[in-house]
């Protein structure tokens, strides 16, 4: 492992163990699993639809669940560093700001992926009940992880903007919501009544919701992957710019 990767891993380890050192992580996971269960089995009509399929009952809620849970999980990342002034300590270590940014992002993302993996009983249930489409479930999970990653990168950015976690949280929710909006059915229907379909599809393509749909159907499209990755990279790059400006004063 080279120096850079080692530094990133050191920071990731610290942040990740920071999550599990407090009860907040467990509370978070319990809420996440409960909400998933309630939404899938009660509101999603999992049993009523009579199909061994997770797209419309399980994954479809994720853009909305993550909308609140990801900012809650990530809001402290930089806001806390600023509030405690540990940022001064961290950034005077022989590491680059990028290593710190990526390390923190990875830690939170791993945490979200762990939470996502703990929804496995849903997969067992659906497999037991019928002939589940394993491929679609797999791509659904990949898409869900990409989705949480891009929300999280945005949360990193808003977290660096303020030393107040509540402000970071609200900003992240607003930005993520704006990224959902152009792709949801009511907005699409409305747009179709006003614009030609080509224009509407272009607007749709700015939505994380829209790009997540493909994954749910079992399609692993490189365009969708690139979309999520570029949202994340852009947000993390913005984080580095914000931190550089903070330091420059």
């Amino acid at each position: 492992m080279n120096d850079g990767a080692r530094h990133i891993w050191t920071i990731t380890k610290r942040e990740l163990s920071g999550y599990f050192a407090s009860p907040v992580a467990y509370v978070f996971i319990v809420i996440w699993l409960l909400l998933n269960g309630v939404l899938t089995f009660l509101l999603g009509g999992f049993f009523e639809q009579g199909q061994a399929d997770l797209a419309n009952t399980f994954f479809t809620w994720h853009p909305w669940l993550y909308l609140f849970l990801v900012p809650a999980a990530g809001m402290r990342l930089w806001a806390e560093e600023r509030r405690l002034h540990t940022m001064e300590l961290l950034l005077t270590m022989p590491i680059t700001a990028w290593q710190a940014i990526v390390g923190k992002f990875l830690a939170s993302w791993l945490f979200l992926i762990i939470a996502l993996a703990l929804t496995f009983p849903v997969v067992i249930t659906v497999s037991a009940l019928g002939n589940a489409d394993g491929g679609a479930i797999f791509t659904g999970y990949v898409g869900s992880a990409m989705l949480s990653g891009s929300y999280l990168a945005i949360t990193c950015m808003t977290s660096a903007m303020s030393r107040n976690q509540v402000i970071s949280f609200i900003l992240a929710v607003v930005i993520c919501f704006l990224l959902i909006l152009p792709g949801i059915p009511p907005v699409t229907d409305f747009l179709l009544s006003a614009f030609p379909e080509k224009v509407v599809r272009l607007i749709n393509s700015f939505s994380v919701y829209w790009h997540f749909l493909g994954f749910q159907r079992g399609v692993l499209d490189s365009r969708d992957l690139i979309f999520f990755a570029s949202v994340a990279v852009f947000a993390l790059f913005s984080t580095s710019v914000i931190i550089r400006n903070l330091r420059a004063g």
Binding site: T10, G18, A21, L84, H85, T86, E88, L89, T92, R247
Partner: protein
């Protein structure tokens, strides 16, 4: 080890640091003095690579802090103001994490952490979470972090702030001990600390260096440096004052205070470098006049007076009390 040239930092229109130049070698302990808001912390943040300067250059161990920050930062141990630490970690965990970022691993890391814990007397709290620590322990935890990798350079921002007198004493001894082999720069506004620890002191005010020298040099700039103070009993204050004014080598005499029959008087020399001659003349005079002298000594000068004088003369016309 450290070379700073024409360092400037502007925050908006405010010039927090306005052209600072100094250098520091191994074996030196440099005290950084100045009133609050003089630019001490800002300078230290630039030295350690936390904030970039608006202008000027910083060279640490031959590496330019702006062009090549990683090797420069490796040489430095830094205790930031208010001694921050991660509140969700134990002291041991926190130090391990910092050691790992410093590139230490395995046995070397364990050894370094234990050595730092020992040097900073942290054994009793090493498995305690850092947010449950008293201020003194918190400070020492952060200090321990700065010496983990046995750096050549230590930058300490108010290392004794918030410590009790015993802890202050310990911290000063630690700094003095480490100063033999390292280059140390630390900020403080406790002037006795400068005398106790520093080999050199810099006073900065409004972002500029206003004095730079050994503590003795600085003290000599005091108005009362070289003056002779004496305490006489049973003689009228006016008589003492007028007679003292006539002593050989005396510029003027003044009464410091008067309490019943006891008079405290001070004689100022014409030139600063009289090496006790004035005290001899004053003693001779006292014998001649048959004064009952209870105390007589030559003033070395007081740092706090120099400090006030230097940092006030810039801002206004406040007069020193005699």
């Amino acid at each position: 080890m450290i070379k700073v040239e024409n360092l400037e930092k502007h925050f908006g229109t405010k010039r927090a640091v306005a052209g600072i130049t100094f250098s520091l070698e191994r074996g030196e302990i440099l005290g950084f003095l100045g009133p609050n808001g003089a630019g001490k912390s800002t300078t230290m943040r630039m030295l350690t690579g936390f904030i970039p300067p608006t202008a000027g250059s910083i060279t640490v161990g031959g590496h330019d802090m702006l062009e090549n920050p990683i090797p420069a930062k490796k040489l430095i141990g830094y205790l930031p103001e208010n001694a921050p630490s991660y509140t969700d970690m134990t002291v041991y965990g926190f130090l391990s994490f910092c050691a790992e970022l410093r590139g230490l691993s395995g046995e070397a890391r364990k050894k370094a952490v234990h050595r730092a814990i020992e040097m900073c007397f942290l054994e009793p709290v090493m498995h305690q979470s850092t947010d449950t620590l008293s201020k003194g322990y918190k400070h020492r935890t952060c200090l321990a972090q700065s010496i983990l990798h046995d750096p050549d350079i230590l930058v300490l921002d108010e290392p004794t702030d918030g410590l009790d007198p015993n802890q202050k004493h310990e911290a000063r001894q630690l700094i003095r001990r480490m100063g033999e082999k390292k280059a140390i720069i630390f900020s403080t506004h406790i002037l006795e600390e400068v005398d106790a620890v520093c080999t050199r002191a810099i006073i900065i005010d409004r972002g500029k260096i206003v004095a730079n020298g050994t503590p003795a040099d600085l003290r000599a700039r005091s108005e009362i440096a070289g003056a002779v103070s004496l305490r006489v009993i049973g003689t009228a204050a006016e008589a003492v004052k007028s007679r003292l004014g006539l002593v050989t080598g005396a510029k003027r005499a003044s009464i410091v205070k008067e309490e019943g029959a006891i008079v405290w008087a001070r004689v100022y020399p014409e030139a600063h470098s009289q090496n006790g001659a004035l005290a001899r003349y004053v003693a001779d005079t006292a014998v001649k006049e048959s004064w009952k002298v209870e105390e007589l000594h030559t003033e070395e000068g007081r740092l706090d007076e120099v400090f006030r004088h230097i940092t006030w003369s810039e801002t206004g016309k406040q007069e020193e009390k005699p």
